[in-house]
């Protein structure tokens, strides 16, 4: 049945010198050969594995017949951020995990094929469906990340007039201010964000922070429905003494500066605290910003680590060190700066509510990890002030906004939400899917009221 196609990539030694994109895409003959491995299942399981429900066999068939543009358009019907998601989706955990070819040889390289189609279209210019017949109804979207963009675009195609409020100067959310460029080149993110905004004709008010520059009440008064997609913005505290010391940085802030192209420099050793994807990105970014060595401190073992396998392997290949079963207890000061992180060893006890085994400190195992910089990457939460802005907005565990699964409607009539603010942090593709689903529900709601 042939072997799975693999993209060329820059070697770990080379790539960590800068922020160039690591994966190089498939060559045309590779893409065609890979497409012809597809079995074109009826009721294909890969489609069910995609949160956005991309018609995978449909686009691969188009690709196989060299209808590259048709393939890209079919993907964009379900997911406007085709090129972005082709790069950042954990495809091996989603569509590719379900692929029937797995039972014959290896799963089809769906993400790589999607990337090929999307890039072909990117080169010639993305064409997305434009605004629908005007309905005269107005919707406000708060936040221009993937969830907000998907919702705004879908609403516009349904004929609603949409205003997107974005606190930052640049639209795109974490696509332009979070995910590192060596995985998602800025040009790709910007091209797709621009195509979404331009095709749909939505009004974007950037540099306007809802709650600071404009009140929530004003937004509610001037629109018939609201979609909340502000993502996560609040770094939860580690609860460890010394967190405010200079030299102790928040991963979100570091990655935001790096993504913005600011000159971030590190010297010496850097510790990264946490075991998620953001920790992996922070570690690899620190390496690229001059750190002589990066060590990730994680309080459980590799098996429990939430980072995707691919992200862990990527970091490990670049020489990032891992100290498992290690928990920080104190940041130690040295003349106003950081001298190191005091840690203890842990062992795994009984499973906790998340089902993962709880780390227990081993008494007497205190030791110092000497670093001048520590980056805390232990998870973000929605901004707690949000619930105060909209009276009656219900938030659940870790401050995530509660919504009805089918419609994405919050506890407040006419206020919908989606993306990281409702999931607590998931994926771009899920944010897109929720934004699109919410738009359909908003459309139905507007027809009702």
């Amino acid at each position: 049945m042939g072997v799975r196609a693999r993209m060329q990539e820059i070697s770990p030694e080379e790539r960590k010198k800068g922020f160039d994109e690591v994966e190089r895409g498939l060559a045309i003959h590779q893409a065609l050969a890979e497409a012809s491995r597809c079995l074109f299942c009826h009721d294909a399981p890969c489609v069910a594995g995609c949160p956005a429900g991309v018609d995978v066999p449909g686009f691969i068939r188009r690709l196989k017949t060299r209808n590259f543009i048709g393939a890209a358009r079919l993907i964009r019907d379900a997911n406007i951020l085709a090129g972005v998601c082709a790069r950042v989706c954990p495809a091996e955990e989603l569509c590719e995990k379900k692929c029937s070819s797995t039972n014959l040889s290896e799963p089809i390289a769906i993400a790589a094929l999607q990337r090929f189609a999307a890039d072909e279209e990117l080169r010639r210019g993305i064409r997305l469906p434009g605004p629908g017949v005007p309905t005269g109804r107005k919707v406000a979207v708060i936040g221009s990340g993937p969830a907000g963009l998907a919702c705004a675009h879908e609403l516009a195609t349904l004929g609603h007039s949409v205003t997107v409020y974005e606190a930052d100067e640049k639209p795109g959310g974490l696509l332009v201010r979070g995910i590192p460029r060596y995985r998602l080149p800025l040009a790709v993110a910007e091209a797709e964000v621009r195509a979404v905004l331009e095709s749909s004709g939505v009004e974007i008010r950037s540099g306007v922070c809802v709650g600071r520059d404009i009140s929530a009440d004003e937004i509610r008064r001037s629109s018939d429905a609201v979609f909340l997609s502000p993502g996560l913005g609040y770094q939860s505290s580690l609860g460890v003494p010394g967190e405010r010391l200079p030299g102790v940085l928040q991963a979100g802030e570091v990655l935001r500066k790096v993504a913005a192209g600011n000159d971030v420099r590190f010297t010496g050793r850097v510790a990264v605290i946490g075991g998620g994807n953001v920790a992996m990105d922070a570690a690899c970014s620190a390496l690229r910003c001059g750190a002589s060595e990066v060590v990730v401190l994680y309080r459980r073992s590799l098996d429990e680590m939430p980072a995707w396998k691919r992200e862990y392997e990527f970091a490990a290949a670049e020489g990032v060190k891992f100290e498992f079963l290690t928990a920080p207890t104190r940041f130690v000061e040295d003349g106003g700066g950081l001298a190191g992180v005091e840690c203890v060893r842990t062992r795994l006890g009984e499973p906790d509510s998340s089902g993962r085994r709880r780390p227990e400190m081993i008494p007497g195992s205190e030791h110092m990890i000497e670093v001048r910089t520590a980056i805390v990457a232990t998870g973000q939460a929605p901004w707690p002030g949000l619930v105060g802005l909209f009276r009656g907005l219900a938030a659940g565990k870790a401050g995530v906004i509660e919504v009805d699964q089918g419609s994405q409607m919050t506890s407040v009539e006419g206020v919908f939400a989606g993306g990281d603010v409702t999931s607590g942090g998931a994926t771009v593709v899920q944010a897109v899917a929720e934004g699109k689903r919410a738009a359909k529900a908003i459309d139905a709601y507007l027809k009702r009221v």
Partner: protein
Amino acid sequence: MADLSIEFCGVRFPNPFTLAAAPPTDSAEMVARAFEAGWGGAILKTTSVETEVVELAYPMMAGLDYEEKKLMGLENIDLISERHIGEVEKDVRALKKEYPDRVVGASIMGAKKEDWQELVRRLEAAGVDFIECSFSCPHGMPERGMGSTIGQDPELTERTARWVKEAAKRVPVVIKLTPQIADITAAARAVKRSGADGVCAINTLKSLIGVDLDTFVPYPNVGGYSTFGGYSGPAIKPVALRCVAEIAKAVDIPIAAVGGISTWRDAAEFLLVGATNVQLCTAVMHHGFRIIEDLIDGLDVYLEEKGMRSVKELVGRSLPYIVEHSHLSRRHKVVAAINRETCVKDDLCYIACRDGGHQAIELDSNRLPKVDEDKCKGCGMCATVCPVYDCIQLRPKVGAV
């Protein structure tokens, strides 16, 4: 979106993609699903008068699994439909009622003049859009003097087509030809003389797809025996393309193309050599009615990229470029140019040139191939075998006139 509608024998098709007379059109339920998926037309599987006995043998399919690709070609020993004219009439009525904008054709086969004419009259009364006559089934039917027995004889073809045309008061008549004839244009001319409206080319090729090396029984094995069958699918496309182009160049008659069409690219090629209708069978049996999505979308995007507004702009565009061999330029000199950067050193070009060409490729000390331009005739065999995309190209020979 480009205009994909096209006329064939005076009948307007919303798009040129039509289901060939074969198993996918053997019931109204199947055709209805195909129409829902977007097919422009369908030709109901060949039917006959009630007195015609149709006894099928199973299994009836065997594939040519060339290099693990499955279905490079398909052989069948199917016969005409077991469903006689009475049932097909009902299908035509039901389909035309439900899908008035789609084209419903019906394929027929008769043993004698009265049968052919009865079939035509009943289908016309049922509201069929056109009639296709199978003069071309290469297996089974010829044993009874039917099928390709007629198509291989221009005189029989003309006479039988006349009977059909005589009975058809309103609807156009299309004759489906066999490629198994020395000169297919002679058959097409016979159809033209008969007054029938169009031709359909090609039906399957008579074949023996393979032999089981353990039992010595060829495929498909029907209780210990086999028989010759009809060959279809991607493998026969070049034959079909040649037949359509030959007819288009020689005879002024509308042509429906069939034989090995799987993708919008294949379809575009048949339009370029003069067809105004394209029919598919094996590709549908392999991948289902849903392939229509890519057929339509791919053709549409292609037309858009070519700046064409209608599919009609493609028809016949390639015909002027097909000439007699003796008219080809002898001064056109090319040589192979190998891209040594992308070469993966598989030696395939070297072997092909050494043992099948002019010994013009040498391997250097790094096993990289090098073309000796004095020896290279530019035959193109190396480029044909090279597995790397665009690695070997034929370039004009420097210094040649």
